[in-house]
């Protein structure tokens, strides 16, 4: 991302020397106004997380890192962090195993499957998590699969919510490498379908899959509804932990909010950096 950003800055450099651009401009004012509105909760929370004490004054009295240190040293927070990571990794592994073959077959052997999938992946949008939870809570509370209350219910459920995103990302990368021709070429050279899939196709879509993984990861770490309704405090993830810290000091929860947000930012940044490198590679070749 930084690479492409630099080139754009340089390209717009000469024109930005024109002076009148900095005079009163209503469009700039609107953009800056909305920017302020959107930035306000984030900036204030960051300020609160860094403030030693913030009473009835406009600015905090003193700055400190003690809230962050206190948070990161809390065993309950560390445990929640590990749990969130475990669930997200498990869900992403399952999603890859389930979605890769479907996307691959839809792009090679059964083109009609792609149309079907494009319909199916709209379902998670039409059904809010609260609605799914009602069914999941009844179906898996007892019976042959008593998953409710354990992290195991979250892994397949999270698969359903990252599906739209993962499927599109994988299908798009498969299409961009023209997977059908690649498979034909591999077959001509004597490779079996599985061999061709693992040795030719997978390495070629690695970047696309990585982007999908990073972005889905940040999405899953932010998931609260399923985690709270299906499992709750029995397997406390980060979001559930934050919600349970309602009574704690505002400085402490602010440090937690900022930590969570920074974590998702790093993940999305990693994903976008990948896509930036991918684009740079494509334009170079």
């Amino acid at each position: 991302m930084s690479q492409s950003a630099d080139t754009v800055t340089m390209a717009s450099g000469p024109s930005s020397t024109a002076r009148p651009r900095w005079r009163f401009d209503p469009h700039r004012l609107v953009v800056l106004g909305v920017f302020t509105i959107l930035a306000l909760p984030l900036v204030v929370t960051l300020g609160y997380a860094l403030a030693g004490h913030w009473g009835a004054s406009l600015l905090p009295d003193s700055l400190t890192l003690k809230w962050f240190v206190e948070l990161w040293a809390t065993p309950r927070f560390q445990a929640a962090f590990v749990r969130s990571l475990l669930v997200a990794v498990g869900a992403l592994a399952l999603s890859l195993v389930l979605i890769l073959p479907v996307a691959f077959l839809a792009q090679t052997r059964y083109p009609r499957l792609d149309g079907w999938m494009n319909g199916l992946i709209l379902m998670p949008f039409a059904v809010p998590p609260v609605v799914s939870s009602v069914g999941l809570l009844q179906l898996y509370a007892g019976g042959p699969l008593p998953l409710v209350g354990t992290p195991w219910i979250l892994i397949p459920t999270y698969f359903t919510i990252v599906l739209p995103f993962m499927y599109r990302a994988i299908a798009n990368s498969l299409r961009s490498i023209d997977v059908a021709s690649l498979m034909d070429a591999a077959r001509l050279l004597g490779a079996g379908p599985l061999q061709a899939f693992f040795l030719v196709v997978l390495p070629n879509i690695r970047v696309g899959v990585q982007i999908a993984i990073f972005l889905s990861f940040s999405f899953l770490v932010g998931e609260f509804v399923f985690a709270n309704l299906l499992v709750g405090t029995r397997f406390e993830t980060l979001q559930v932990y934050l919600n349970n810290m309602r009574g704690a000091s505002g400085h402490f929860t602010s440090a937690l909010v900022i930590t969570l947000f920074a974590f998702t930012l790093v993940l999305t940044w990693l994903g976008n950096r990948q896509s930036g490198q991918d684009l740079a590679k494509e334009s170079a070749s």
Partner: protein, 280 residues
Amino acid sequence: MRGLHAASPALLWLLPFVVVFAAFQLAPLAWVAISAFRVDDGWGLGHFREIVTSPFFRQAIGRSLEISLVSSLLGLTIAALTCHSLAHTRGPLRRWMVAFTNMTSNFAGVPLAFAFIILMGTNGVLTLALQRLGIIEDFNLYSKTGLIVIYTWFQIPLGVLLLFPALAGLRTEWQEAASLLGAGRLAYWRHIGLPVLWPALLGTLTILIANAMGAYATVYALVNTSYNLMTIRIANLVSGDLFLQPNLASALALILVLLLAMVTLIQQWLLRRSYHVAER
């Protein structure tokens, strides 16, 4: 393609996907759709009758609709103005703003509620500052107005991301051509700008409404179960401490899904009526 005997083993690879998707996406929805009609002594519309006649549930539905509609319209208006201004902004500011909205669209759910408590809660930084300046007497974040403020806040980034491609696609040549033919700014927007944007605006509004109707985490973190909304009621009926009524929850959940479907149908209907699309 190569005959069925070659195709069938490959189809086996679809099986795990189909099984998990059916078990964790289709089956829960099917359970909701069926159990909504399940009453003590068999089948019937009892739960729906209870919801429709209960002032409490009617209030939840009404408030969900009201907060969603108001916040979506506000969010859409602000997002459209922002996109319009962004399309007329050059240089780094535009790039930063797009990256920043992308960033803030990740800020949702429980963390958002906590940030707003710090900002606009009873002792929030902004609340105290505005009180000191004498602009407001007091502000209740845990009220309808408060929820509309938060909802609108999280609708803006989503609206900008969805609308920006459409507004950036409006060509300045069109406005120039229109003004050469004698059209003022108003006439340009009335006959060219809005008709071109209409499908994108409608589509975005639909997504924003669906987003708001289904929202749960932010409100729950803010007011727990004390504010009466559809999603809060549904969750409370299946996970509250007492009086679990899963079948009633299913009925209310089904109403929510049907309302979302209705919003989409209205959008499709409005879209078909607009001449810009009908011409094609």
